[in-house]
């Protein structure tokens, strides 16, 4: 079947199988920041944004994104560098495999939550698993990221 969609602002017209998952659709087109970490929608690695909303691309059919706008980390390079550097400054990048999905959700969280507490941050991001860091360094980095832009920074 034929679908038309916008990925990181660019128009794609693609011929796909009806049962193709969005994660495979994106990886096949070269958006390899989108990672698969499980087969049960538990790990958050494949998080992308579809029309402003963070979704697990392993749980969405590519057919359903016809006419929609998808954003992957490749489309948010400037923002990724800002958060990424804060994470690296904490030493919390480690293996990096969970980073793209995690960053997608952090960016969405910043838009959705105003002045979140530590507990609210942890709850919002609880679907993003990480096996390396123990999460503390990520939390320190996110809090610095949320402070950016305040006080005219």
């Amino acid at each position: 079947m034929q679908i038309k969609c916008y990925i990181n602002g660019r128009l794609f017209n693609e011929d796909i199988e009806p049962d193709m998952l969005l994660i495979d659709f994106l990886r096949n087109l070269g958006f390899t920041s989108v990672k698969r970490g499980c087969d049960t929608a538990n790990c958050g690695l494949c998080t992308v944004v579809v029309n402003e909303k963070a979704v697990l691309s392993c749980s969405v059919l590519a057919a359903s994104i016809n006419e929609k706008h998808i954003t992957t980390l490749e489309g948010l390079e400037d923002e990724a560098k800002i958060i990424g550097e804060l994470i690296a400054n904490e030493g919390a990048d480690q293996c990096g495999f969970c980073s793209p999905g995690f960053l997608m959700n952090v960016i969405t969280m910043k838009k959705e939550l105003e002045n979140p507490t530590d507990e609210e941050i942890k709850h919002y991001l609880s679907g993003n698993l990480c096996r390396c860091t123990g999460y503390m360094g990520q939390l320190r980095a996110i809090k610095k990221y949320l402070e950016l832009g305040k006080d005219g920074e």
Binding site: G37, T40, I87, A88, G91, G96, F97, H123, C132, G137
Partner: protein, 756 residues
Amino acid sequence: MKVVNKGINKLDSMSLVTGKPVYTDDIAPKNCLTVKILRSPHAYAKILNIKTETAIKVSGIECILTYKDVPQTRFTNAGQSYPEPSPYDRLILDEYVRYVGDPVAIVAGIDEKSVQKALKMIKVEYEVLKPILDMEEAIDNNTVIHTEDDYTVNFDIGNDVKRNICCSGGFESGNVDEEFEKCDVIVDEVYHTKANNQAMMETFRTYTHFDYNGRLNVISSTQIPFHVRRIVATALDIPKSQVRVIKPRIGGGFGAKQTAVSEVFPAIVTMKTGKPAKIIFDRYETFSAGTSRHEMKMKVKIGADKEGNIKAISMYTLSNTGAYGEHGPTTVGLSGHKTMPLYNKANAFKFNFDVVYTNTMAAGAFRGYGATQGIFALESAINELAAKLDMDPIVLKQKNLLEEGEVLTAYHDEHLQSCTLNNCINRGKELIKWDEKYPYRRISDSKVRSVGMAIAMQGSGIAGIDIASVQIKLNDDGFYTLLIGATDMGTGCDTILAQMAAECLECDMDKIVVNGVDTDQSPYDTGSYASSTTYVTGMAVVKACEKLKEQMLEEASKIMKVEKDTLEFDGKIIYNKDNSITIDRLAQELVVGDGNCLMASGSHSSPYSPPPFMAGFVEIELDIETGNIDIIDYIGVVDCGTPINPKLAKIQVEGGIAQGIGMAMYEDITYNTSGKMKNNSFMQYKIPSRLDVGNIIVEFETSYEPTGPFGAKSIGELVINTPSPTIANAVFNATGVNIRNLPITSEKILMEMMKK
């Protein structure tokens, strides 16, 4: 020190955090055949017949391989140094399948769909055999798991395969029985730790192809490129010279990738078809057809006098290696040798063990590697001894603690040259406010807050076995290339090794280029495991850099026409009181005409494996109506010698504690009565999320290890060891209940409380 002991960002940080294509599957060519495995549904069976005729006709299928199509050379998947201590008990595909998930057939085709379709069309007829699922029933069972004639071990490991014993052994120093006679108080209990999954975020994956020289190239997410070269060559029965292994960035390992789990499958497909091939394990396979932590039952006996002087410790460990012996003979030793030395003041130590085969998934390497299991057992027993003596466990431990300068009788008589464990305990005690909070405080009708603690040790590399070599080149613009065989798997070893080189050569980090591992180009390194990289490879870096510096002085003296020993090196220039030459200029001069391109090698192996130490403290909130525990604070204070990069070291500790909390509280691989793994996904096998780990606080109590680079010891494995006994201790302090069987679930706590 200018660069070492500084919190420098990882060299590869920005490409990792911004999602650049740096992992195996991101860089695999699109024309790779998709490889998948048909796996056994039975825990133990003989294949009587496999029909592949219909499946091979599926459009797009390139090849289907069964046990009749693979070389009949047994090997081990364990990534270990020659001569490999793990038995040669595997084939790529075998006529016998020994656990649910054992490979039966390999299918390769142009895409996932055709391969999935073909997999369903293979018909296998099995003779189902009676499996052994309980490790306590393994020895002398009527079922024998390895009956093959060509089963071999490379040296005496106490193997008795007809009795399902993979390995056995022991040691005694002093006479424990005589010492126990003199004791006033004895603890004698059995502790049970479970199989856990490493659960690294990137599952097993490999792609293979022939290069322009017709050699097999293996690009794989592995901790052990050089061992993979040997394992693949042995399994395929081809010369090692025909195999090249390249390691891209790795999405975590934790020991899982110290076993060659995925490499042989695409390799044999490429050999058979001549085409590039790729295998990506899904999460189910990664759970149920990889390797786990060894399940262990440890019987611990400790005796002390009334004053709390520990007289003797004896341990017996029964370890479950599953269907294959990967890492079986080597993990078990740590359960005794990397635990009992903590209480070195005892007069006698005894340690015996059996490692047995069962029809469950093979066990393998997982951070901590047997020490983690042993620390749970020994520290739990020590905490129980403190309770029997009516002593604060900290007082008992400090009274019997090993000290710098001692010879560790239970640790191969190694001389302990660095240890600040006592300071770690004191600092942790302060941070958790032990004296205010021990043992517990009632905070409401149903909630109790309590504290618990444990101490731990590990090693730094395998003494006399691990070897690392590095090469460092001076390039024409005065920068250096550091070639290493150690494998950064996210831990940051490329960065910390570059820091050491920059410190030795007195230059900035941007003057050091680090090349990751390619077995054709990198110098030999056993790989990143056994907490060896900082300590062993680090020393190789120091040696290579010192040699290179000497070579640079030598060349400078020729150019400057002065005696070499008048010259000084400051990283930017080489000079004496009259004259100088910049390193840039020297480098330029050496790459023209009759110059001399400089490169130095360093190789290192240590006769020691100096233990790093840690004290772990926890405050929990326990619901006495449900048995539920929440972690409030976890404190880890660590002696890893000199932290080469304190920022990365801190994250190692935080991450290790989080994994340890998972092991302590819920991670538990379980099987149904026919031997099928029940929890083979993140849906059923829960790992800690960011809601589960409480607040983790980490500090270092620096020591100086004279045999390590810049005084460093290891850190990577040690840090997973304290949570299980620490949390068990906190549960005891809250309820008076001892949970000796991991994980420490609310059900177990409540059941034990109800028995009281």
